[in-house]
Point group: C2
Chain length 299, copies 2
């Protein structure tokens, strides 16, 4: 059995009964688990985390669009977060027994079916994008729901699937495939914010660091220490252990020790296996040697 | 769902059709997976590795006894490996969502049922042992099948379940609960066997080292290097990373580097998670943050 994760963001974060109505519908799809639901009233947006094998997940996502399009009207939607439609964005993420290619295929298949079934314009983003101009979600979403009709008149923004005009109440949707994001923080045994900021600058892509690291230095109020707060956006290519070792090394240059690190929220087990194999200098180790994986693989 | 492993050893390693007949019967038990089967002709013995939730595993083990007792006759059995009966030994091992106490309970339940159903004497060993004199498998098995009838006449060796005389063709069986065993080797960048032997002596329990380490130093023929070859018998109490760090430290005392390490066969994912958390100095991390675990836990 493969495990694929999906993190759809819907434009409803205030009417919690409406959100519950949607999640209840998803719970009735066999083989899919809802791992998390976060609703934000200021953003007027909810982020759902689902996981399951390809087919059940596809069925759940189709249900999600059906329910969300029925209950969310973008013409009256106001919120702090940028958005293009009722189901604003829907990424597929390979977790176990599935590759990025599988997730790209799934994104295209789901996108095609949603466009046909709900007459909704669909843009593909990230690894599923049809052109590099559509890789970045912010570019696709620029202009938001209110600017969508005008934006779509430009041939450059013909959707990947579906009609060339917005869905009246649902706008458009952005479907894609990406790696799981790991929220990873390293706490330093110092109160020097400048050190945390210097290290964050050294390791994040935007200022010359690792390709798949976003980072900032912050003070942890009440604890008298600082933190390098990060998002790791592709742990296979920029692994946790390498980031940790570089932060430790950079901190030493200021005479500062690493106090501890923390993972916020969920992490794929492979990201930690990778760290174990690195530090233990494990040669020839395969995920197939992990007892639980062996048990769950198909015969 | 809990995952419990069982590694029954049966006294048949030559007639591979007979072994296949037994494993085929086990494959028909829903909810149980056969992870491995190793038959050894010199030992005239096969080692099966099964895993599943408590009830399916129990059903599979009952089937294993039924089939093995029907096809194996200890009165004509000869082999290099010490053995007491047709199903010689059957440990239960907690892997995920199950504790050692669960496995001890399961061992007793299975032992009681097997004794009643097949009129077979059952001894409990390791964590399931009723007295410390029965903890060690070698003590229970001493005298082997040929000496069993005489041994059982001594009140000290009244079985935990079942009759006080051997089963005519099946002898007796030893059922228990223990931690998973990890076969772990560390290769040193030297050809000095004395260094590997010194380090092995330093870390194994029998000569003053860690409580749950068995170790020896050997030469890897053809590679010109030596190896500290180990069994880690309780990774929660004597974790891999601590053993690795001490071996690295001891090797440095001889000016020798660790070249690599290797895990032979299967390892529970928790043993590697432990290493990742140690080296990354992860604070407040819980197995519940591992995406795959979250997906598989009951709601």
């Amino acid at each position: 059995m493969a495990i694929i994760e999906s993190v759809p963001n819907i434009s409803e974060g205030r009417n919690l009964d409406a959100v519950r109505h949607i999640t209840d519908a998803l719970r009735r799809v066999p083989g899919v688990r809802i791992l998390d639901v976060q609703s934000d009233a200021a953003h007027h947006r909810s982020v759902l985390t689902l996981a399951g094998d390809r087919e059940p997940l596809k069925q759940a996502i189709l249900r999600l669009y059906e329910e969300s399009l029925a209950s969310i009207d973008m013409r009256v939607h106001q919120g702090a977060h940028p958005r293009l439609g009722a189901v604003d964005v829907c990424p597929f993420i390979p977790i176990e027994g599935a590759t990025m290619t599988d997730c790209v295929d799934l994104a295209r298949e789901v996108g095609s079916e949603i466009a046909a079934r709900f007459n909704l314009p669909v843009y593909l983003y990230e690894d599923a994008a049809s052109t590099s101009a559509r890789r970045n979600l912010e570019d696709v979403r620029r202009g938001e729901f209110e600017g969508l009709a005008a934006k779509m008149q430009h041939p450059h923004w013909t959707p990947d699937f579906g009609p060339t005009t917005p869905h009246a109440s649902g706008g458009a949707t952005v479907i894609g495939a990406r790696m799981p994001l790991i929220a990873y923080n390293i706490n330093l045994a110092t109160d020097r914010l400048d050190v945390a900021k210097e290290i964050a600058a050294a390791i994040r892509m935007s200022s010359g660091g690792f390709r798949f690291v976003k980072a900032m230095g912050i003070t942890l109020d009440g604890r008298g220490i600082v933190q390098v707060s990060m998002n790791l956006t592709h742990y296979e290519k920029t692994p946790i252990f390498r980031v940790f070792e570089v932060v430790k090394r950079e901190a030493a240059r200021y005479g500062v020790n690493v106090l501890e690190s923390e993972i916020v929220g969920l992490v794929p087990s492979a990201a930690l296996m990778q760290a174990a194999a690195y530090y233990l200098q494990l040669e020839g180790f395969s995920g197939n040697q992990i007892l639980e994986n062996r048990l769950r693989s198909s015969e």
